[in-house]
């Protein structure tokens, strides 16, 4: 009944999404009675000592061909390890890597596969919850006897489960697998911010901001909150911002603790990317805007005036 978590390193430690999955795995393992196994591959194994207490066992997968990350060698290496160990559950944090690795591993292992999940419980079996029909309904799935691979949106679980008393460390040497896809260029995104899909606070703006230079107001509030900036589709289509920060159907899905949305009317295109946010603050001049139906707090007013006032108020409390 072991629960595995694929661990992604970041800034000398591990992604918050990794840590919250390990926490939830410890919580469930206490009830289900099985070990939690943290698995880290290639460069992600470098910080493995930081996983002391986070899992009963840490498996690092090594091999020169695994660094830097490339899908083919990683699928080969993880496929071999998971086939040998046949865990019950393998948990991934949603991201571009999970999107690439999880389905291919599932196809290779003949495993059940679910992505975009939000909940994982134990009632004698594992129950997984995921949105369907663009978040208009939630489906609960009973995981079967075989291996199940599941990816969860960041911020789905609390990180506070008790650490385990003892962690065993082990290493696996992966057989070499050639990488068929050649990297010609890499342009890292320079950002001082947490990634949009992982941020606990997100500030999003729409056409109600009226001009591209006003997007700076979103930046200011995000800075004050220590969060990330998103935009609506209309803003991307108008060429004011890059698609990489678009929230909604054709962009990113976010699930932060606080979502502030200014000058967005609230069409389904947008709301399906944010409706699992815990607390939503909407700012709109139109008191009848649909976005208020998705909000906990609403401010009827001009985003250009309300955003700076909110930034000032947040700074005042923080300071």
């Amino acid at each position: 009944m072991s629960i595995w978590v694929l661990c992604e390193a970041r800034a000398g430690g591990y992604r918050p999404a990794t840590l919250e999955l390990l926490s939830q795995a410890r919580r469930l393992a206490a009830a289900a009675g099985g070990p939690v196994v943290a698995v880290a591959v290639g460069d992600d194994a470098g910080a493995a000592q930081a996983l002391e207490g986070a899992a009963h066992r840490v498996v690092t997968v090594q091999g020169g061909h695994l660094s830097p990350y490339a899908a083919d060698p990683w699928v080969g290496a993880l496929g071999d390890v998971l086939a040998a160990e046949a865990p019950r559950l393998v948990l991934f944090g949603e991201g571009t890597r999970s999107r690439e690795l999880l389905p291919r591993l599932a196809a290779r292992l003949g495993a059940a596969a679910f992505t975009n999940a939000l909940g994982l419980e134990w009632d004698g079996g594992f129950l997984l919850t995921r949105p369907v029909y663009g978040g208009k309904a939630y489906q609960t799935i009973r995981c079967g006897e075989g291996t199940c691979l599941a990816a969860f949106r960041p911020n789905s679980f609390d990180g506070g489960a008790a650490p385990v008393p003892e962690t065993a460390f082990g290493e696996v040497q992966a057989a070499a697998v050639p990488n068929r896809v050649e990297v010609l260029e890499q342009l890292p995104r320079e950002s001082r911010r947490v990634p949009l899909t992982e941020a606990s606070q997100v500030v999003t703006g729409g056409r109600g901001l009226r001009a591209p230079e006003n997007l700076a107001l979103l930046e200011d509030l995000a800075d004050a909150l220590g969060g990330a900036v998103g935009v609506s589709r209309a803003v991307v289509d108008a060429g004011w911002a890059d698609h990489a920060i678009q929230v909604g159907k054709s962009g990113k899905t976010v699930s932060p603790a606080l979502y502030v949305v200014a000058g967005v009317s609230g069409a389904v295109h947008h709301t399906m990317g944010m409706d699992t946010a815990k607390v939503v603050v909407a700012i709109n001049t139109d008191p009848k805007a649909p976005i208020f139906a998705y909000a906990d707090y609403g401010v009827v007013g001009d985003a250009l005036q309300v955003l700076p006032a909110l930034t000032a108020a947040v700074r005042k409390t923080a300071g």
């Binding site: 059940a112 939630y138 010609l184 698609h243 309300v306």
Partner: protein
């Protein structure tokens, strides 16, 4: 160059979704369309054909669904369409659907397989990379630019970490992200002709596949309802101070 596009028919975004009393099932209004990212994949396939010659075939798999999706692809200019139609695919999991699509692709043989990054209903993004793995093809997901070379494709994509330009040998499977190509609006003549198209259908047995077990769904629920919104009006500075107080003391998110 022989190009396949894997397409899915999904409920329109505006379709009404109702969870049955007790949560045993979910009822979805019959307003169906070709999934957003699949439409981009069709457009990219048509452009690839225009650049390098060849043919474009739209492929879908389901239990009595998929006709509308491939008809849309035909209306846009696809040369042909194929369906895996089998009652056992109703409620089947992604791997069963991927196996059906992969079997059909293997039978037909393609130089390039395109698919959408994810479907707009479950947003799972599983089918494309699963089919790639089952066919043993290299795979790049979330492609925002595609340029064909002899025996290879040069593609761009956005990752969590930034932008990458990659080269993959062909045949390969690529999934389309927004920005790859703006889908054309089909001409009326094309739409009329596609409406009457009866794409050839195959069953799982004809592809040598066994009927899969359905996904073990334990139940459904509607989205968590938020309490009625607390609307604040007045001077921005006053409202902002009041809001921050509520976010700290009531919602406890600051």
């Amino acid at each position: 160059m022989k190009i396949a596009v894997l397409v899915k028919e999904v409920p329109d975004l505006e379709a009404l979704v109702k969870v049955a009393e007790g949560g045993a099932s979910v009822e979805v209004e019959k307003k169906r369309c070709l999934s957003f990212f699949d439409e981009i994949a069709v457009e990219a396939a048509l452009r690839a054909k225009a650049a390098r010659g060849g043919s474009v075939v739209a492929i879908s798999a389901g239990a009595g669904t998929g006709v509308e999706a491939v008809r849309r692809a035909l209306a846009m200019g696809a040369d042909g369409a194929l369906l895996v139609d089998d009652p056992a695919l109703g409620g089947a999991d992604s791997l069963a659907v991927a196996r059906a699509l992969a079997a059909l692709c293997r039978r037909e043989g393609f130089d390039l397989v395109l698919a959408g990054r994810q479907a707009t209903d479950d947003e799972a993004g599983l089918i494309g990379p699963m089919v790639a793995e089952l066919l043993g093809l290299p795979c790049v997901i979330g492609v925002t630019a595609l340029e064909l070379e002899d025996g290879a494709a040069r593609v761009s994509r956005e990752t969590d970490r930034g932008t990458e330009v990659l080269r993959t040998p062909l045949p390969a499977l690529l999934t389309a992200e927004k920005g790859l190509a703006e889908p054309r609006v089909p001409q009326v003549m094309g739409l009329m002709k596609a409406m009457r198209a009866q794409p050839p259908k195959v069953t799982l047995a004809e592809l040598g596949l066994e009927a899969p077990a359905p996904t073990p769904v334990a139940g459904y629920r509607g989205p968590a309802k938020r309490p009625p919104v607390k609307l604040l009006e007045g001077e921005p500075a006053t409202v902002a101070a009041e809001l921050v107080k509520s976010l700290r003391e009531e919602a406890r998110v600051l």
